[in-house]
Point group: C2
Chain length 301, copies 2
């Protein structure tokens, strides 16, 4: 069965009753699983982690909009995190048995549905974007809710779906499809922050490095070492092992060794299999050979 | 939930009706899954791959004995594979959420139960063995069914459970617990069979190598290359990456490079994670961070 992950960001992190009510309504949707709900009061924002197939998403996401739009008025919303709408961002992420293209189609279809149902402007982003200038979330969200009415009048900023003016209380929503993010850090056996910063600059796309790497050099002051802190935004095209090997090579040039690396939070099993295949030079390996996958593959027997 | 794998070997590979009837009775056991059934006519032997928790095993394994003992008479059995009993070997293998120690206890408990129920002598082997001289299956099985009555009279060959003479038609059974086997081959970029044989000798336990490696050097004649063909019998204690690195280092000494490696059949996910952690120097990683594991971990939500 296809597994799609969806991580809606909703603009309330201070009223547990509002977020609980949305979570409860999502748990009642057949086939939809609520894996995690995180609220942040200073950001005044909550992040839902949902999983299910396309049908579960089609049923559940409008439910989420309904609950959020009923309870949230962005005209009274303050928080540290930038936001454009009551439901701010809705990314769909292919996990298993589903292609990125299918997630793009699902994102567009749900966006059209929600825009019509709630008279809400919707912008498409990342892999679902049809416009290079509107691919990055930061570009779409720039100006935030308060600047949205003016921005929508500018050339090139008509929404992909819905009315050409903001929803009075809910602003606009950014919907799209993207690969899973991997938060990956490499700790260096040195206290030299300049080395971490130079390596970060060498490996990240923005300064000439690998296409799907965001990186910065930071100190870990309590340990007296430095870290190359990274987000890998497409592990299929920029695999973890290539990032590790490049950081290691760049570090050697400064006489610095890698102390350890860490994966923060979740990582797709395929991103780990890639590494095993690379380092062990494995040919012809498939996910079906992983014992646990086989054990789980025939629940009926 | 705990997942235990059990791979009973039954001494009939020529009568599909007998094997089908046993498989059908196993599929009716609640919580027991029949993942695979392979029959080999020249070996005259069938191998069942079962999965489930301890309760499913306690219910299912006696069912398997009942079906096999009813249909098989070893006095009339001929086949290429050595065998001691109608149900020849029953290994329990810890996969997930269960320790080796728990599998050892389960093996002993089921062995006692089956021995009493069917008046069948049972020997314990591998991790369940209480006697170093009776740890290896080959040692216990030496002499086969035909030599069993005499062997059981020798000092040190009283069975662990059951009567001290063979079952008339079913002989005896070897029950135990072991780690999953990994069939792992490394192909070398050379046609020199002597190099493959020297490397195999260097890495396998029997000639001084790694404790849980069995290895031989063989030619892949159609490709004009050679292979170090291995069985890894305990990946926790002798991990795949250590075997790969040792083979690579030994090959360098002959000016030979590794062309590729391959995993044949199934491999536990933990054996792959070990490799990722080693090569990427990852600290503090857990199976719970694998996205697919998280998606599967809360079926109720």
């Amino acid at each position: 069965m296809a597994i799609i992950e969806c991580v809606p960001n909703v603009s309330d992190g201070r009223r547990p009753d509002v977020i609980d009510a949305i979570a409860t309504s999502l748990r009642a949707v057949p086939g939809l699983r609520v894996l995690d709900v995180q609220s942040d009061a200073s950001h005044n924002r909550s992040v839902f982690t949902l999983a299910g197939d396309a049908g579960a998403m089609r049923a559940g996401i409008p439910t989420l909009f309904e609950g959020a739009l009923r309870a949230i008025d962005l005209r009274a919303h303050k928080g540290e995190h930038p936001r454009l709408g009551a439901v701010d961002v809705v990314p769909f992420i292919p996990i298993e048995g589903v292609t990125m293209d299918e997630c793009v189609q699902l994102a567009k279809s749900i966006a059209a549905d929600v825009a019509a149902k709630f008279s809400l402007p919707i912008y498409l982003y990342e892999d679902a974007s049809s416009n290079p200038a509107r691919k990055n979330l930061e570009d779409i969200r720039r100006g935030e809710f308060e600047g949205l009415a003016a921005k929508m009048q500018q050339p090139g900023w008509a929404p992909d779906f819905g009315p050409s003016t903001p929803h009075q209380t809910a602003g606009a929503t950014v919907v799209g499809a993207r690969m899973p993010l991997i938060a990956y850090n490499i700790n260096l056996a040195t206290s030299r922050l300049d080395v971490a910063k130079k390596i970060a600059a060498a490996v990240r796309m923005s300064s000439g490095g690998l296409r799907y790497v965001k990186a910065m050099g930071i100190p870990l002051e309590d340990r007296g070492i430095v870290q190359v802190s990274m987000n890998l935004t497409n592990y299929e095209k920029t695999p973890i092992f290539r990032v590790f090997d490049l950081v290691k090579r760049e570090a050697e040039r400064y006489g610095v060794q890698i102390l350890e690396s860490e994966i923060v939070g979740l990582v797709p099993a395929a991103a780990l299999r890639q590494c095993v295949e690379y380092y062990l030079q494995i040919e012809g390996f498939s996910a079906a050979q992983v014992l646990e996958n086989k054990l789980r593959s025939r629940p009926g027997e």
